[in-house]
Symmetry: C2
Subunit: 513 residues, 2 copies
């Protein structure tokens, strides 16, 4: 066997480029958490410069030539002369780097600069527009953004639908043709379950969750949960932002944000658990591969599987609250001291049509995603005008949920995603739910007494299992391969639907069929 060829030059070059992306991520984190309002315009310029530079350096002749040492730059095929001397991990690194390179190479630098600047600006306009419930204010930015993203799809190239080009950014390999039947089947089950729930004699009382809860104590409780989940505050932070998010500049600095409302206990609580799931993934990525594809998360769907697993499979389970509910009662004795654990458990699992995605229950959440998927597919395919979106949104809400938002702030303006150009992102949330159920089923098989551990507040076995099966691999495997490897199955909605049937069948006392 030939002496292994060193990838060191390539990886150290990629690492330096990554520093620029990390710097941009720090600037974005700052923008969402602490930046004074006046700093917005120049921040957009600074971010555009950083991202453009990172882009230019990545598609530079230097990287091309370093990659070209190992593979055919047109096809990505590793050169036969090198194949034997490259271990599996090096091959994965080359495969994924080439994927990124060949995509980036298709985007002109001026386009990247324009897009980045618009992303930063539009996000700020969106935040104001949502605050003032003023879609018209956001409209010009959204129109520019749609036009930019359609252009991006043309640059990237696609089969069937331009939407596929964008979807592939977030969930490599996923297509409209794959999602449509998957979502259609899921939708049938969800609508059936939702009907059963609507017709159930049980209708949980959730007013206990909308009492007044001191916001500082809420955040402090969220912090405690994060700690116990295994989120390392020596390598992270918890801050407030308008929209909760996780960002990472390295496994040693992966941060989460939450938001907190005095009269909405679940909001802060579950966003902490949710973002904690994301952050455990980031903190669990292999630091030795930092800066390269092997140091990155596989896809948004897999990322979301981590947050959903913690938020729903763990955080909305009876076992979880067996441990945490007494602590929550101690934190809010006046509000919860007299509320039995069961009543609380039922309340946080109430299923009901609602306007706001991020506060939706784990069942209807996916219907929210389908609304967005259908709309953004039409938008990117040019089937609808952007200024018709509020109307279209409301019509879909009526169709799916039987309710119509009374304002755009609780309708089409609610999500940050489109403001930063993230078309093709929403489906990954539902994919995340499906992956999460598959993974959690497997975890229960692999970890003896997992539910018992959770009931005792011991999250280490689950965290360690996720570290081992998912996090430490970076992009070594594709989403499909990883799921197949860990669970022995390809993507399926069966475990997810099974979980919903069991949980809500029990909770809402479905008639036994």
């Amino acid at each position: 066997m030939a002496t292994p060829i060193s990838l060191d030059f390539l990886t150290s070059t990629l690492r330096e480029i990554h520093h620029l992306r990390d710097a941009a991520a720090v600037l974005s984190w700052d923008q969402e958490t602490y930046m004074p309002q006046g700093g917005g315009a120049i921040r957009a310029e600074q971010l555009a410069t950083l991202q453009t530079l990172a882009h230019n350096q990545f598609v530079s002749p230097e990287v091309e030539s370093l990659l070209g040492t190992f593979l055919d730059i047109e096809t990505g095929t590793i050169l036969p002369t090198h194949l034997a001397s490259l271990d599996e991990s090096s091959q994965a690194l080359l495969r994924e780097t080439w994927r990124d390179f060949s995509r980036a190479k298709k985007l002109p630098s001026t386009f990247v600069n324009e897009l980045e600047r618009e992303c930063s600006l539009a996000q700020q306009v969106w935040a104001e527009a949502r605050k003032t419930n003023d879609f018209q204010r956001f409209l010009p930015n959204l129109e520019r953004m749609v036009s930019l993203k359609r252009k991006e799809a043309e640059y990237l190239g696609y089969t069937d639908s331009p939407y596929n080009a964008l979807l592939d950014t977030y969930e490599p390999g996923s297509t409209v043709a794959q999602l449509r039947p998957l979502f259609a089947e899921l939708r049938t089950h969800l609508i059936r379950l939702l009907d059963q729930i609507r017709n159930s004699p049980v209708q949980p009382n959730t007013t206990l969750l909308t009492q007044s809860f001191d916001t500082t104590k809420q955040v402090e409780f969220g912090r405690q949960v994060l700690k116990q989940m295994g989120y390392d505050f020596q390598r992270g932070r918890l801050d407030l932002s308008a929209h909760p998010f996780t960002t990472s500049f390295h496994p040693t600095d992966s941060r989460v944000t939450t938001r907190v409302f005095e009269k909405d206990l679940p909001s802060c609580l579950f966003s902490c658990i949710h973002e904690g799931g994301h952050a455990l993934y980031e903190q669990g990525l292999p630091a030795q591969h930092y800066g390269t594809a092997l140091g990155e998360a596989i896809s948004l769907g897999i990322h979301e599987s981590q947050s959903r697993l913690w938020e729903n499979a763990v955080g909305r389970s009876r076992a979880f609250w067996q441990y945490w509910y007494p602590k929550l009662q101690d934190t809010f004795p006046a509000q919860l001291g007299a509320v039995p654990a069961d009543e609380f458990y039922v309340a946080i699992n109430r299923v009901t049509p609602s306007f706001i995605r991020v506060e939706a229950d784990e069942l209807t959440y996916n219907l929210h995603i389908m609304v967005r998927f259908e709309i953004e597919l039409d938008v990117i395919e040019g089937q609808v005008y952007v200024d018709d979106l509020p109307e279209l949104w409301n019509a879909k809400m009526e169709e799916y949920f039987g309710i119509t938002p009374t304002s755009d702030a609780e309708g089409v303006l609610q999500d940050v995603h489109w403001s930063f150009g993230a078309f093709g992102y929403f489906p990954t949330y539902t994919l995340g739910n499906l992956y999460a159920a598959m993974l959690f089923h497997q975890a229960k098989t692999d970890i003896p007494d997992l539910t018992k551990h959770i009931g005792e507040g011991n999250f280490l076995p689950l965290k360690t299992w996720l570290n081992d099966r998912v996090h430490r691999w970076g992009r070594h495997y594709s989403a499909n391969d990883l799921i197949q490897r860990v669970t022995g199955q390809t993507l399926t909605s069966a475990p997810f639907i099974q979980d919903l049937e069991e949980k809500f069948g029990h909770l809402y006392q479905f008639p036994t069929t």
Copy 2:
């Protein structure tokens, strides 16, 4: 007259480079305020990449060629053919850009990278070393830093002393030969005044300042003062950090930090006013020149003149407290309700030898600077070993103040500066004091009833005057030229000494001579 040649290509290139420096400044701000401890190592790498890139782009053939269009790149002389068509401001921009360019050009990229990485790392080690009073822990970093700075001086070139090369970074045109007599004369007066104060029958009681003061209220009070000074919180923030500082990413985003101790009222208060002075300068720089020399502060001495003017000439004056003291009493009624304004005024102006520079009174502060100036001059000239610094420090403290620090934390480890390579920085503090006195004398001449305005809490006339005379000019004038232009005089310690005589003569009831 020829058509003016556009500097647009040059300025837009400089602006993009500045985005990288601003990004680095955001990362540094984050490092000092919110970064989790674990993120330190990678942060050093990220900063090194950004600063190296900025350096490389600045000394690139592109900038050289853009500059070369207008001037002789070897000497900086503007080409005679262009001279007539360039207005004064364009000429100033070229002069200052060339100054920066020709200095930067002398530093190899690898050196810049090494220095930047060491700066970020050493600063973190220093913070730990100070916390644990462990000079030995910091020693290897300090030794590396000294060796790097001596190397930098060699790269830059100098006459007389390598220290001049470093000093010139912070205070262009300043030299050891200029500082020595200036400091010697100042020292004579300071020692004389200090003797008179020591022998005075008046010895203020400062225990009123070391009562217990709620830290949140202290910071809130500092915030109120900053607001009233004219610091715009829409374009800035106030946060906490180990060492108070001001940083700016643009006039629309200029931030200050403070620190707060429960039993030390002046610390937070005066650091807010001090940093506020710096920040007004940054917020007052001309945004249209952002990214170029004309959008930057002249020198650290002039920068410090702004902070000192506000901290001492304004913030420690009777007039200032005429307005603010009742408000401070309202904030801390239990602690200050029964303390007369005069007693408070005397306490915050107490002159006494002390260990910590940043908490020194406005007189002995300059002796602290002289201690550092003498030591760092010796260090950079290679007259002393770095591991002898604790001993040398303590000896100088004994010589100047008659007191010896009991720990390195309150001795040689107290300042952050050397940890980020800022040798040649300290003298600018005393220069700032001298400039501040010169400017404030002039302000009193130019603004009718200035003291009365201050006594009424109206800081707008002073802020506007500083905006107009100092801030808006950026680096259009050199420090000398600006001071000459505004005050009609060249640098002199006379107004500063006069102020000290008057203030402390009155306060400590010196015998009339």
